[in-house]
Amino acid sequence: MNGDMKRVALYIHLPFCARKCAYCDFVSFPGQTDRIPAYLDRLAREMRSAVGWYGPLAADTVFLGGGTPSLLSGEQMKRLMGDVGRFFEIAPDAEITVEANPGTVDAEKLAVFREAGINRLSLGVQSFDDGLLRRLGRIHTAREAEDAARMAAEAGFSNLSLDLMYALPGQNMSQWTDTLERALDLPVKHISCYSLILEDGTPMKALIEANPELLPDEEIAVGMQHEAARRLAERGFSRYEISNYALPGFESRHNLVYWRRGDYLGLGCAAHSLMNGIRFANTPSLEGYLAGEGAGEADVLSARDVYEETVMLGLRTREGVEAALLPPDRLARLCGAGLMAVDGGRARVTEAGADVLNAVILELV
C-alpha cells in the first residue's frame, strides 16, 4: 500500500428501513428496498468521482450506517463491499462496521456479511424491554435482539457493539439496569448508551407533548447515565466518549475520527464529509441523489469554527482537548467547580461535567 496516499474514514449512508421508528428523524425511507440496486449503482459512480477528485484514497475504517444497512441482502452487500474495495485502498486491519437491526438478520445473512469483509457489527437493540421496544416503534423483540447478537458471534463477529437508549417514556431505573445486565451477558465488546432526544416532527415528541409525565424526571435520567457508567466500568468497559463504552482496544476507530476532526468522506444520500478542513453534505433527497445531484454548499471553516469544533467534539472524548487551547480563567473556574480536570496537558470533563456538557462547552466557546 502506498504510504503517501491520503487516509480517510469512509462513511456510507444506506437510507432504507423497514419502518420508521417513533423517535427517528434521520434521513431514512421505509418501503423503498426495490431502489437499493439503483442506489448501489449511484454509490459506485460517486466512489469513482470521489477518487477522481481527491486522487487515490486509503480507508482505515469503513462504516455502513443508515437507515438499516442490514436490509441489504447478502448479495447486495457483497456488491457494495466489492465496489468499496475496487475504488479505495482498504487497510488490512481496517475496521469495517455495519449497523444492523436485529429484526433484519439471520445466520445466513450474517455469514455472507462476514464473507463480504464486514468485521464489526453494531446492533440497534435500544432496550431489552418489549413494552419499551413497542413504544419506540422497533420491529424486533428483546428475545430477537439477544438471538441476533448470539448469531452474530457464531458467524464470527468478534467485535460486536450494541446501541441502547435510556430516559425513555415510562422507563424506570430497574428496567434500565435490567437492559444493561442483559447486554453485558452477551458477547459484546462495545456498548453505546444514548439518552432519548425528542426531535421535532416525530411521533415520540407528539407523545411526550401530550403526556409529559411519561418522561423520567431529570434526576432519574442523570441516575441512569451514572448507573450505566458504573455497571459498565465494573465489567471492564470504559467510557471513552460521552455516549460510548468499550473494552480495551475495542473503541470505535471510525467514530474517533469524527471527534478528532480527522478527514472523513461520506458517500450516499445525506452523507456528511470533512475533507481538508471543508465540511459538506450530500442532498438529503433520495430522488435528488439518485438523479445525480452532488454535494450542496461547502462550509469552509474559519479559525473560530475550528476552535469551537475542537472543543465541542474533543470534550466528548476521554482524550479531551489540549488545555493550552482553552481560556485559562474559564478552565480554572470549571475545574474549581469539579466539572473539568487537567492532566498531562489535556483538559477533559469529569463525570459531573459530562452530565452538563453543553453548558460546559458554552463556557469555553
Binding site: Q225, G266, H272, M312, L313, V356, L357, N358
Partner: protein
C-alpha cells in the same frame, strides 16, 4: 374683525377611550369636505401607527374645517384633538383652554365612564359649552334613552336635542355640525390688544423647526414679529403663521384673536416651547401671561438600556429624535453595574413610558432592556438637606435619611356595583385611603381613593382589570407628597447585589414584595452550571431566599455519521441565548428579568 370672530367655532371632542372620538373626528373632516372619503385612512388625526393601534391620541392636533350651516353662514370650525389618556391630563387641560366648546361623546351602550367624568369636570372648569352626543346607536346593545338620562342626572346637561349618531355608519353627522354652529359660543378677544397666544401643543417639523400650536386669545401675530415666551423667557422671530389642514399647513399673513393655528419661528429645541405658556410680542408685550401654566414634570422614571451595549449611541440618537417631538420626555445618561451604559428616562406616566419604549423598538428597531419604573421620592436627610430620587440606586444610606416622602394621586374608579368590594380590597392592598363613594346610576359606583403612585405603577391596572373583568375604569391625578415609611429593597444574586433590580417600597410591603420578586426571578433565571441563591434584602438583612438549582443534565445533540450540524446549530442557539443575558457577577440574567419584577401574581 369682530365679524370674523362671529363665525369661528373652537371646539374639541372629549370621550372615554373607545367611545368613538377619532371616528367622529374623521366623519367631521369628511362631511366638511376637507378630506374626500377615498383619501381617508381610518382615523386621520391619529397619524402615528401606535396611536391607531392603541386607539388613543398621543399628541394634540388641530384642524380647520369650513362649514356652511343651514342659516346660510359659512363657519370656520377649529377642531382641536386632545390626547385621550390620564398621563396627558395637563395637555388635555391646555387644549380645552383653547376652546369655547366641547363635544362630549358617550357610547350608547357603555354610558358614562371614569374618563368621561374626569374630562367633563375639566371642561366645566374651563367654562366650555358641552354638547353631548350619543354615539354607536347602531349597536344592538345601544340604550340611548338610558344614557341620555344618565347624562342629565350625573352631569346635569340638557340632552333634549342631543344628536344620536353612529360615527361609524355616518348617521347624524350633520346634526353634530349644526349643533356646533348653533351652540358653541363664538370666541371673544381684542385683536388690537397686546398679543396673548396660548400654546396648547408643540411638535417638530423638519423644515420649520419646533412649532407651537396656539389659540390667539388677544391681539394679532404676523410674520416678522419678534415674540417672547412669557414663562420660558426666550425670544424668537416669527417665520410663518397659519392654520392647519389635515396633513398640512395653510400659511396666512396673520393670526388674530379668536383663531387657532400655528407659529413657526426657527426654534431648534422643542423644550423652548412649553405647553401652557403664553406667547406675546416684544414690541407691545402683554402685562401678564394667561393663567394655568404648569411646568410639565415627569412622574415615572425607568432605566432604558440597549440589549447590545454596542447600540448605546443608536439609543441616544433615537431618544433625541423622539424628544424633538415630545417635550415631556426626559433622558439622562446613567450606568448600571448589571446593565452597562444606558439612560434614565422620565415620563408623564406608565402609558407614556410604554409608548416611548414601543416606539424605540419599532421605529428605531432597537432591542432594549428596561428596569422597573420608579416614581420620584423626596428624601429629607438628617443634615436637613432635601433631595429627589428617581433611581433607587441613588438613595443615600438609611443612616443619612431623616425621612422620605412619596407622591400620592387622587384616584377615581367607576365600576359596576358588583365589584365595589373587590376594588376596595385592591385599593386597601395598595395602601389606599378611602375618600368617597357615589352611586352614579342604578348599577354603578364612583369610588375615590388616595393612592400612592408607586403602587399605581406596580401592577394596579392589571389587577383592576382582572378583579373586575375589565368593567372598571380608572383615572388619576397627582395630589401631592406624603411622608411615608419607605425602604430600599435590594436583590442579591449569588451573594452579589444587582443594582438594576433594586426598588423603593413601603416597609409594610417589603417582605411580601421581596418574596414575590425572589420567586419570579427563580422562575425566569435559567439553571446554570452553579447553584444560584437569590436573596431579597433590606439594609443588609435578608428577608427572602430562593434558589435556582444547578443544571443537572444536558440533552446532547447527536453527531451521527459525522453530521455535526445539529450540534453546531444547538451551540449557536445557546450562544445567541447567552448573548441576550446580562452578567451579574457570575450569574447570567435574562433581559426580561429586569421587567419581570413588575408583573406579579
Amino acid at each position: 374683525m369682530a365679524k370674523t370672530q362671529e363665525t369661528i367655532r373652537n371646539f374639541c371632542i372629549i370621550a372615554h377611550i373607545d367611545h368613538g372620538k377619532s371616528t367622529l373626528a374623521d366623519r367631521l373632516l369628511e362631511a366638511t369636505g376637507v378630506m374626500a372619503r377615498r383619501d381617508m385612512t381610518e382615523q386621520v388625526l391619529d397619524s402615528m401607527e401606535l396611536e391607531r393601534e392603541r386607539g388613543i391620541t398621543i399628541k394634540s392636533k388641530a384642524v380647520r374645517l369650513p362649514y356652511t350651516a343651514k342659516d346660510g353662514k359659512t363657519y370656520e370650525f377649529n377642531l382641536i384633538d386632545t390626547p385621550g389618556h390620564v398621563d396627558f391630563t395637563y395637555e388635555v387641560s391646555r387644549a380645552l383652554a383653547a376652546c369655547e366648546g366641547a363635544i362630549l361623546v358617550v357610547d350608547a351602550s357603555q354610558g358614562i365612564e371614569a374618563q368621561t367624568l374626569a374630562n367633563v369636570y375639566m371642561a366645566l372648569d374651563h367654562n366650555l359649552e358641552i354638547l353631548p352626543v350619543i354615539n354607536k346607536i347602531d349597536l344592538p346593545s345601544a340604550q340611548p334613552e338610558v344614557v341620555k338620562q344618565e347624562i342629565e342626572d350625573e352631569i346635569g346637561l340638557d340632552t333634549e336635542n342631543c344628536p344620536l349618531i353612529s360615527a361609524k355608519q355616518g348617521i347624524g353627522i350633520e346634526d353634530v355640525l349644526e349643533d356646533i354652529a348653533r351652540n358653541v359660543p363664538a370666541p371673544e378677544g381684542d385683536p388690537d390688544a397686546p398679543l396673548q397666544a396660548l400654546i396648547f401643543d408643540s411638535y417638530y417639523d423638519n423644515y420649520r423647526g419646533a412649532i407651537s400650536s396656539v389659540r390667539i386669545k388677544h391681539g394679532t401675530v404676523r410674520v416678522g414679529d419678534r415674540i417672547r415666551m412669557m414663562a420660558g423667557g426666550r425670544e424668537f422671530d416669527v417665520t410663518e403663521v397659519g392654520t392647519y389642514r389635515p396633513n398640512g399647513y395653510n400659511p396666512a399673513a396673520q393670526l388674530v384673536a379668536g383663531e387657532v393655528g400655528y407659529i413657526a419661528a426657527s426654534i431648534k429645541d422643542i423644550a423652548d416651547i412649553r405647553v401652557g405658556d403664553t406667547i406675546t410680542r416684544t414690541d407691545n408685550p402683554a402685562a401678564e401671561a394667561l393663567p394655568g401654566y404648569k411646568p410639565v414634570l415627569p412622574m415615572v422614571y425607568c432605566g432604558i438600556y440597549p440589549a447590545d451595549g454596542a447600540n448605546y449611541e443608536a439609543l441616544k440618537d433615537a431618544l433625541a429624535k423622539l424628544r424633538l417631538n415630545d417635550a415631556a420626555l426626559s433622558f439622562e445618561p446613567e450606568s448600571s453595574v448589571a446593565l452597562g451604559y444606558g439612560f434614565r428616562c422620565g415620563f408623564l406616566g406608565l402609558l407614556h413610558m410604554e409608548i416611548i419604549q414601543e416606539r424605540l423598538e419599532r421605529e428605531f428597531d432597537l432591542d432594549l432592556v428596561t428596569t422597573a419604573p420608579s416614581v420620584v421620592y423626596n428624601v429629607i436627610k438628617t443634615d436637613g438637606k432635601r433631595m429627589t430620587i428617581d433611581n433607587p440606586t441613588n438613595l443615600p444610606p438609611a443612616t443619612e435619611i431623616d425621612y422620605m416622602e412619596e407622591p400620592y394621586v387622587d384616584a377615581q374608579v367607576i365600576t359596576p356595583q358588583d365589584y365595589v368590594g373587590a376594588i376596595m380590597e385592591l385599593c386597601q392592598d395598595k395602601r389606599g385611603t378611602f375618600r368617597d363613594m357615589k352611586y352614579i346610576d342604578g348599577g354603578r359606583v364612583l369610588l375615590s381613593y388616595d393612592l400612592p403612585l408607586n403602587e399605581v405603577i406596580y401592577d394596579f391596572f392589571d389587577q383592576l382589570k382582572s378583579r373586575t373583568r375589565g368593567y372598571a375604569s380608572f383615572d388619576y391625578e397627582l395630589k401631592g407628597y406624603v411622608r411615608s415609611d419607605l425602604v430600599k429593597l435590594d436583590m442579591l444574586l449569588n451573594g452579589e447585589m444587582c443594582d438594576a433590580l433594586s426598588i423603593i417600597v413601603h416597609r409594610d410591603r417589603a417582605y411580601a414584595r421581596g418574596r414575590s420578586i425572589a420567586e419570579k426571578l427563580q422562575e425566569v433565571i435559567p439553571r446554570q452550571l452553579f447553584e444560584i441563591p437569590i436573596q431579597a434584602a433590606i439594609g443588609g438583612k435578608i428577608i427572602a431566599r430562593e434558589t435556582v438549582k444547578a443544571l443537572r443534565k444536558d440533552v446532547l445533540a447527536k453527531c451521527y455519521g459525522g453530521d455535526i450540524t445539529r450540534k453546531k446549530k444547538l451551540l449557536e442557539k445557546q450562544k445567541e441565548g447567552k448573548k441576550r443575558m446580562r452578567q451579574v457577577g457570575s450569574v447570567e440574567v435574562p433581559s426580561e428579568a429586569f421587567m419581570a419584577v413588575l408583573k406579579m401574581d
